[in-house]
């Protein structure tokens, strides 16, 4: 039975990012309140070809090679002398960007919501291991160790986003 008079709860985009981060033992998630409007923050961030190589210095370039509504396919090239390429499946919606590397060894997420005239921005990265639940549970301690590396990278991305927005 549904009755819209009963109170309901909601997650929001940032809340959903916190939930997904909880699923990855090595995930690191950081939130910042950016003193810019949601439109400004998301307008910059959602232009992935421009924004990601701009704020993430480990990425030399990124190109959207396929676009089907909210689903994108992106190819990222590493910065530096060895231009390693990674393909990402991307789910891009207002306030939400969920990027999954093929074959699902790495996930990158951004979520944003207006908070007054500012923007709450959450950024998460994690190693992700495909395989049966038992194998993935067994790898949990190893994956948790990977958090140290991700924990250095995520704040740098957020610093870069803040610099790009002059915030």
């Amino acid at each position: 039975m549904t009755d819209d008079r009963w109170p309901t709860a909601a997650l929001g985009e940032v809340g959903r990012m916190r939930v997904l981060a909880a699923a990855f033992p090595g995930a690191f998630l950081e939130e910042r309140l950016v003193p810019r409007s949601f439109e400004t923050v998301w307008g910059y961030l959602s232009d992935l070809e421009r924004s990601i190589p701009d704020f993430d210095r480990t990425v030399g370039g990124l190109r959207i090679v396929r676009r089907d509504g909210e689903r994108l396919e992106a190819r990222a090239r590493a910065a530096g002398p060895v231009p390693l390429a990674t393909t990402f499946d991307v789910d891009l919606r207002p306030g939400w960007c969920w990027m999954v590397a093929r074959p699902a060894f790495y996930v990158v997420g951004f979520a944003a919501e207006p908070e007054g005239d500012q923007t709450r921005l959450a950024h998460m990265e994690a190693l992700s291991v495909p395989g049966p639940p038992g194998l993935r549970a067994a790898l949990g301690p190893l994956l948790r160790m990977s958090r140290f590396g991700v924990a250095r990278h995520v704040p740098r991305d957020l610093d870069g986003i803040g610099r790009a927005l002059g915030a």
Binding site: M1, T2, D3, D4, R5, W6, P7, T8, A9, A10, L11, G12, G15, R16, R18, V19, L20, A22, A23, F24, D89, D91, W98, V100, A104, V107, S128, V129, P130, G131, P132, P133, G134, R136, A137
Partner: protein, 167 residues
């Protein structure tokens, strides 16, 4: 359950992050309804904690088709737990008796007032019986209490609602 939801659960259990996001989006309105009605002003926190418990333990769900009942159990447990530690202090019995005069055309505000007059465990009984349509026996089993306890909680709860809600 729809076959594509069961398939998404299976893929998420095997470590597909895109499928995991799909499962979270599918479950969110359902979990939000349970957590909102039981935890009231702490509903968003309860929902986030319930969804975190769900994604952390998704690998232990042996039968993907049991997703909804499994998620319901977690949502009720987390909502009662969060509501008990939160600010939703039940009002006294005279207030509960007074709220039994909620009219047929009760508004959302009045529904919320009636719910707020009950302890969280009593709200859980009401949600499982009236929002979820579970029997007294099923409700007792889910909450881990005797059927007689469900009956007495339900009696107190339904006194606060008019006949069309308690039928």
């Amino acid at each position: 359950m729809e076959p594509d939801v069961a398939e998404a659960v299976s893929r998420a259990q095997r470590g597909d992050p895109m499928a995991l996001d799909g499962v979270v989006r599918t479950l969110a309105p359902y979990v939000g309804r349970i957590c909102g009605a039981i935890a009231l002003s702490d509903g968003d926190d309860a929902m986030q904690e319930a969804m975190m418990a769900i994604v952390r333990n998704l690998g232990s769900l042996r039968e993907p088709r049991a997703l909804w009942s499994w998620a319901r159990r977690i949502a009720v447990r987390e909502a009662v737990r969060v509501a008990r530690r939160g600010r939703d202090i039940p009002l006294d019995q005279p207030m509960l008796a007074a709220s039994a005069t909620v009219p047929d055309g009760a508004t959302a505000v009045e529904v919320r007032h009636v719910l707020a007059s009950m302890p969280p465990a009593q709200r859980a009984v009401l949600v499982l019986r009236h929002l979820e349509g579970m029997s007294e026996e099923e409700t007792a089993a889910m909450l881990g209490v005797a059927v007689g306890t469900v009956k007495s909680r339900l009696h107190r709860a339904t006194r606060a609602f008019r006949a069309r809600w308690s039928a």
